[in-house]
């Protein structure tokens, strides 16, 4: 009796308690799917948010009966923007233009404009990290030029442009940096960070102006919290090798002495970065073990022949070595330790590192690197010999 009364009592009185203070119906939320932060010429922050419009994909509901849009350029989001001295100021002004409460919980994309990135993102990053709603797992990008157009673009394939960026990042073709990663990179000793750099793919002929989609076109390199340089797509690949984040892309090589190219896709790659101090000289040894699968063979090499295979493997090895070296030289050139090598050195040589940590950038820039690649081609695909060649044309020996 008592327990039942207690139960009824609890459930009966709870509505009158202040328990519902943070209760908010989903229909009163402005669900932010992506946000862009720009700086205009008056040194003001421009915050743009991409807000999902729920009625745009409602099907059946509201008596319209199955009028669901196929996402083909239909507007599912709206972009509002507002100026302010910082994000929170802009946000409070923005809220007055939005009838629903801004909800950051599902915002997985934050894009910084190029100008803001060059002048420093720390101040704005503090808001994103401090506020309880934005996720630390959200991806962070830097855009070429202003960031707002990226939110405004209406991708034909996905529901909204934020989703395009997220899906592209998940393919691991470019860098994938979450807010937490960025925070760690900036607070670490090297104080350098890399963020994916996004551009807008111009729309095809016949498509409306807004139908261009954002894509990842390289890497923005940050020193402290300021963007100092760029890496091209190709250099980014090398960077991914160094960061051991290689996934699903194609290496095209040109073996010596034969015409044509072979394309490989790395099946597995193990990258080991070994910091060394030899004779007071700081150097880095990178060991890579990778297996590849042949996906196209444009040469006349028969890859089931060990000799030809060797030649191809050697070319594969060279190519990867070149990529890695190029990326590394690039970062050295920018004096930005975006690989977080400082941390690796600190772990192995804490005493030596502590002596140099105030001029670590210079040591990093002068560091020698030795790349040791063991590349193998383990899978040749369904066919051994090149397709479309007669027996005689295939070079067997």
């Amino acid at each position: 009796m008592k327990s039942v009364l207690l139960l009824l009592g609890i459930s009966g009185t709870t509505p009158f308690l202040s328990g519902c203070w943070d209760r908010i119906e989903i229909t009163d939320l402005a669900i932010v799917t992506a946000a862009a932060i720009d700086k205009n010429d008056n040194d003001q922050i421009e915050l743009s948010v991409q807000v999902f419009i729920p009625s745009s994909i409602s099907s059946g509901g509201g008596g319209q009966g199955g009028g669901s849009s196929q996402g083909g350029g239909a507007v599912t989001t709206l972009v509002r923007y507002e100026k302010g001295s910082n994000i929170s100021d802009a946000l409070s002004k923005l809220q007055s233009k939005l009838p629903r409460k801004v909800f950051w919980g599902h915002c997985k994309i934050f894009v910084f404009g190029e100008k803001l990135a060059k002048e420093g993102i720390r101040e704005q990053l503090d808001f994103l990290l401090r506020h309880p709603q934005p996720r630390e797992k959200a991806n962070v990008y830097v855009s070429k030029g202003k960031a707002k157009p990226i939110l405004e673009s209406l991708p034909p394939l996905e529901n909204y442009s934020g989703e395009v960026l997220r899906e592209l990042s998940d393919l691991h073709i470019g860098m994938l940096v979450t807010m937490q990663d960025l925070d760690e990179m900036l607070t670490g000793i090297p104080q350098a960070a890399a963020l994916p750099f996004v551009k807008i793919l111009p729309p095809e002929k016949g498509q409306t102006k807004l139908q261009g989609i954002p894509y990842i076109a390289g890497t923005a390199v940050f020193k402290k919290d300021k963007m100092t340089g760029m890496m091209t797509e190709k250099e980014t690949r090398g960077l991914l090798w160094l960061r051991d984040e290689v996934e699903s892309y194609t290496v095209t090589i040109k073996p010596k002495g034969v015409k044509g190219e072979i394309s490989l896709s790395p099946v597995s790659a193990k990258v080991k970065i070994i910091p060394q101090i030899i004779n007071e000289k700081w150097r880095l040894s990178v060991k890579v073990i990778t297996d590849g699968a042949v996906i196209q063979n444009g040469t006349n090499l028969n890859l089931s022949n060990p000799k030809s295979l060797n030649a191809a493997e050697r070319a594969y090895q060279k190519d990867i070595e070149k990529r890695i070296k190029m990326a590394f030289l690039n970062t050295q050139h920018k004096k930005a330790d975006i690989l977080g090598l400082g941390k690796d050195f600190y772990r192995k040589y804490p005493k030596q590192f502590n002596k140099v940590d105030n001029h670590w950038d210079e040591i990093f820039a002068e560091m020698e690197v030795e790349v040791d690649v063991a590349a193998h081609i383990r899978r040749q695909g369904y066919i051994n010999k090149p397709a479309g060649l007669s027996e005689e044309e295939v070079k067997d020996k």
Partner: protein, 525 residues
Amino acid sequence: MIRNVGRLLKKTKEKKSSVQNNYQDSKPADALDANFSLNVETLRSVYDNCSDVMFRSFLLFGKTRAMLIYIAGLSDIEAIEQYVLSPLMQESSKEPQPLNEFIEHKMPVPKVVKVNMLADCIESISTGNPILLYEGESDGFSLGLSKWEKRAIEEPMAEGGVRGSREGFIESLEVNTSQLRRIIKSPALKIQSMKIGTYTRTNVSIAYIDGLADKTLIEEITTRLERIKIDGILESEYIEEMIEDNPYSPFPQIMTTERPDVACSCLLEGRAVILVEGTPFTLIAPISFFSLIQSQEDYAQRFLAGTFIRWLRYFFMGLSLLLPSLYVAILTFHHEAVPTALLLSSAASREAVPFPAIVEALAMEITFEALREAGVRLPKQVGSAVSIVGALVIGQASVQAGLVSAPMVIVVAITGIASFMMPRYIAGIAFRMLRFPMMLLAGTLGLLGIMMGIIAIVIHLCSLRSFGVPYLTPLAPLKGQELKDVLWRAPWWKMDTRPRLTGDSNVYRQSSEQGPNPKRGSETE
């Protein structure tokens, strides 16, 4: 003010106790008289205005005045004619001496009992056993010739199954006990009887297996049954509510079944079965919470299938309690806790809905409960009308009208299915009722509220007992041996021990190490 309330409470308490005192078990305590005509007169006055009571007067062997009293429809008329009246009315034959010896030992009637109290006479007549009185004898004779119309044994309606016995209990106590006896042939199966109810004088039997059931348990059940003073028992629920440990709990502490095989499996586990005349639902005690989630079919199919279905049931038991409240909590408090795509599509579906999620959920759940109740109570001929209207109105029309979102309909439907997955209807109802306070908690406090609700329910379950057996055994208190029938359904060759209820009785139910293997029967390792 508070004092006044206290006084009022006291007053009602006093009133209650006075009501209790007013109750009297009006049973005539007189003995039968030596005078035949006086006895007949008394009985006639007792059965005044009872047109169904027959007083057949005749002459024993053409000399002695005699009277046969029975109730039309309760006694076997043919047998009375053939084995009682015709031999006793033979005028030609010599009257055997002594007469009572003849009646007791030489009449071809299955059971003859001498009765000398008026109350016993009435009892005997009411149960369909004719009473024979004759001049010069102060005792009456109760002839065991009762016979009345009853339903045939049919498949149990509320506990179906694919495999297993298809027999169900019926309303007749004798048939029910015979069904138990047909399965358990050992004389260790004891069946004790008593009568409860001033007016109904309902037969209630306690069945148990001597040596398996704890003696004190049987004593406790008997004393609790004897405490019942009521005018009538029409269903076993009357008894269940009067002998439960915690009468205010939504969870039943006594299991009901209408399957003889379930009753027998419980008997074999050392539980007691209470059978009540007039209802096919027998009571089983003591039980644990998990008994309510086990179905007889778990044991009648391969143990892997049984285990799988048991886990499915556990999962859906949780859903039936929590799904609507989780949905409400996430939609009103924890928007970030679901994947983005899911949130966006549910936001889209809720866009046109005019109610807050909690109101929507409550309305839909209540409608569903109403629909279910209407479906149960409705005459079969109009049953389809309810399902059509229900499916159209709460399924389609409400979504199309934009009053309810489609995900909510799905949630309600899954919850409905989940609550019907409980093999015991009464246990399902407990969860269905608790769903509503849980939804209120979810709508006001979110997941925190749900957690509070769960904690309250678990604490309550922990505090329950069924005839001294903790309700959550074997999980709390933990009994590793018995988890074999809770976490999974162990194969039969591993079910070596009985669940330990109260007392220490016969522990092993079979010899161990009976696991079959491909060796031939006679080979041993």
